[in-house]
């Protein structure tokens, strides 16, 4: 089991507050600790529109990576005319290096179930699916046990909290590539189809599962929604940064320690890395931080004051993504790291569009010939152009983000890149002859 890191006592823990329970599936204990209080409040005292208004007032943003306003999704789904609507909780946890979502499901399944029920109440859905990676057997088992108990107690089921409304929640183990975590791909998998993304708009909140309005939400987002209804939007707004309040789960890795922590959004990277003993006065020196998973940005140690938030990371050339944060060793070769990340992204791309199946592969080839010491004189320009083209023409965010590792090397580690590009530059200047290995027409 993945370790939970100790965080400073002043950091609030809306997500992991109940994580230390002996038996997370014990419904009575969970209710005593506050579970389903938010749902009761929503169903008994608030109209669906008032629930959406509360979520909006809290400023809740999706924890699945992109940070989209949750209330906007709920409102769109609720106001699209349809016979049925669905809620899908995205617990797929695509990044193998970030186990935050399965750990939340294991440690506090009721928080996610409650959040799903609140979302269903707010948009008028009578059925919901919690999608979990098929290999996460522990999370699936606990979720199923918890769903059974919640239904027996009448929190969900044929007559949800005696409101006369029905809500069935299913757990669906899914398996596939990295891409399966993307919302339109996940919906395809739930429909039993090949997992490739769809053009958005229309967004799933208008046309989602089986063509019906569907709110797809990361499991953390839903657990936070439950907390907001229980504790109020003002309490939530007081946590973290004003632009994106609340906390988020991160999976931090350093040379000394690794584990999962709940951090307020807006916390400086420095403070997060200190949790694993990297940097700081007593910590190990490191060179760069990879933030956001395989398609993340590689930021230099000089940017440690950057707040961990959607907007600040985007400006710095990274993204929250999967919540993975990796501190590299002081002597790490960032260019090799970027190549390996790009290779992962290219291998995991779905193949639907040309930027996806060819563009990502070309970036990988450029990275690999630079690292192999056989760059071409045009490679730096090619990388810039190609990345811009992919960002401009990609169908889903995966291929766009797949340009980040190499782009961040270009932006922050230019001297290292230039050193590796040197042979090509010299050749271009006619000073030295270097055999440029011409690859075969690549496939």
């Amino acid at each position: 089991m993945t370790d939970l890191l100790k965080t400073p006592a002043s950091w609030p823990r809306p997500l992991l507050g109940r994580a230390s329970a002996d038996d997370p599936t014990d419904l009575d204990a969970a209710v005593k600790a506050g579970a389903f209080a938010g749902l009761k409040k929503a169903v008994r005292t608030l109209a669906p529109a008032a629930v959406v208004a509360e979520i909006r007032a809290a400023g809740l943003r999706g924890r699945g990576g992109a940070g989209f306003l949750t209330a906007d999704k709920w409102q769109a789904a609720a106001s699209t005319l349809a016979g049925r609507r669905y809620v899908v909780a995205n617990g797929y946890g695509a990044d193998p290096a970030a186990r935050t979502d399965p750990v939340l499901l294991e440690r506090d399944p009721y928080a996610v179930i409650e959040g799903v029920a609140i979302a269903a109440w707010a948009i008028g859905a009578d059925s919901a699916i919690i999608a979990v990676r098929a290999t996460e057997a522990g999370a699936i088992r606990r979720l199923e046990a918890a769903l059974g108990a919640a239904e027996e107690a009448g929190f969900i089921g044929a007559n949800m909290l005696d409101s006369g409304r029905e809500l069935t929640i299913d757990v669906r183990p899914v398996q596939g590539a990295y891409m399966l975590g993307e919302e339109t791909v996940l919906l395809k998998a739930l429909e039993g189809k090949r997992g490739q993304p769809e053009q958005r708009p229309p967004y799933p909140s208008e046309r989602g599962l089986f063509g019906r309005p569907t709110v797809v939400q990361n499991v953390q987002t839903l657990a936070l929604a439950a907390w907001i209804l229980r504790e109020g939007s003002a309490a939530f707004g007081a946590i973290g940064s004003p632009a994106a309040p609340g906390t988020i789960l991160v999976h931090v890795r350093g040379a000394r320690r690794a584990g999962i922590a709940e951090v307020p959004l807006g916390t400086p990277l420095r403070a997060i890395l200190e949790l694993v003993g990297a940097g700081g006065r007593s910590g190990l020196a490191f060179k760069a931080v990879l933030i956001g998973g395989p398609s993340g940005g590689i930021l230099p140690a000089a940017l440690l004051d950057t707040p961990y938030s959607f907007a600040d990371l985007r400006d710095a050339g990274a993204h929250i993504g999967s919540g993975s944060i990796v501190a590299t060793a002081a002597e790490a070769d960032v260019l090799e790291l970027a190549e390996l990340l790009t290779r992962f992204c290219a291998s995991e791309a779905c193949g639907k569009t040309i930027p996806c199946r060819i563009g990502t592969r070309r970036i990988e080839e450029i990275a690999s010939r630079i690292n192999a010491g056989t760059p071409r004189p045009t490679d730096a320009d090619l990388l810039t152009d190609l990345s811009a083209d992919i960002v401009a023409s990609g169908l889903c965010d995966h291929e766009r983000l797949a340009t980040l590792p190499m782009a961040s090397v270009m932006r922050y580690f230019r001297p290292e890149l230039d050193a590796k590009l040197q042979p090509a530059a010299e050749q271009a200047a006619g000073r030295q002859r270097v055999a440029v290995v011409d690859g075969e027409p690549a496939h």
Partner: protein, 231 residues
């Protein structure tokens, strides 16, 4: 038999005479371009790039879009291996040279088609019945079929396509996409001579393991470069 003798001949000649003076349909092509239905898309042909490599990436988009299902794909992978229908980079479905061979009417070393042998389909029929012939339960149907046969025989895929009404490209595309579904009986995987087909999980596991190894290497002090992609 007409009542008036000879009337048939007169009628026949009248038709001939009328046609004789009607405008002719022969077009003076290419001087006069032919009138073509707006839906006409021309002859299907795969194009080559400047290296002489087929441009088709066998992404299935055309096969899935084709309303009359006249485009069909099946086969192996993109990197010169065959007998591989899954794995991250295999999501494109088919090795293109082989798709070209098939189109050229030559024999193709394609297990998916070799496996096109008659099998007892009663198990598939039972599975389809159980799943209500519902195309929305395709993954479940495919999983049950694999459980019944040990792999997904092409004959079973065709039956599933027929039984659910989901077009074959969709059934095949879905089956190739998911890592836990396979097209060869497990015995063949184990006993294969050359090239060795990877086990069901290995393609996926290798990609993930490479990624995690890259992170470990970046974190840990100066270990050597982990093995790259195995081609």
């Amino acid at each position: 038999m007409s009542l008036i003798p000879g009337l048939g001949i007169v009628r026949g000649m009248a038709l001939t005479l009328r046609r004789f003076f009607q405008p002719k349909v022969t077009h003076l092509y290419p001087e006069v371009p032919a009138e073509i239905s707006p839906k006409f898309r021309g002859r299907l042909q795969l194009l080559y790039d400047e290296h002489g490599t087929l441009k088709c990436e066998t992404c299935f988009q055309c096969a899935q879009a084709c309303p009359i299902e006249c485009i069909d794909m099946g086969g192996v992978d993109t990197k010169g291996r065959f007998a591989v229908h899954w794995g991250a980079s295999e999501t494109y479905g088919e090795r293109r040279e082989e798709s070209a061979l098939r189109r050229a009417g030559r024999t193709v070393p394609d297990v998916a088609y070799e496996h096109w042998s008659p099998i007892d389909l009663s198990a598939v029929d039972a599975i389809l019945h159980e799943a209500d012939h519902d195309p929305r339960r395709l993954l479940e149907i495919l999983g049950a079929t694999q459980a019944a046969y040990g792999y997904l025989p092409v004959a079973a895929l065709k039956r599933i396509s027929f039984g659910t009404g989901a077009w074959y490209a969709m059934v095949y595309g879905t089956a190739t996409y998911y890592h836990h579904l396979r097209f060869e009986p497990p015995a063949r995987l184990a006993g294969a001579d050359e090239p060795v087909a990877p086990t069901v999980e290995s393609g996926r596991e290798r990609v993930e393991a490479d990624y995690l190894a890259a992170l470990d290497q970046a974190i840990g002090p100066g270990s050597k470069r982990p093995a790259g992609r195995v081609n």
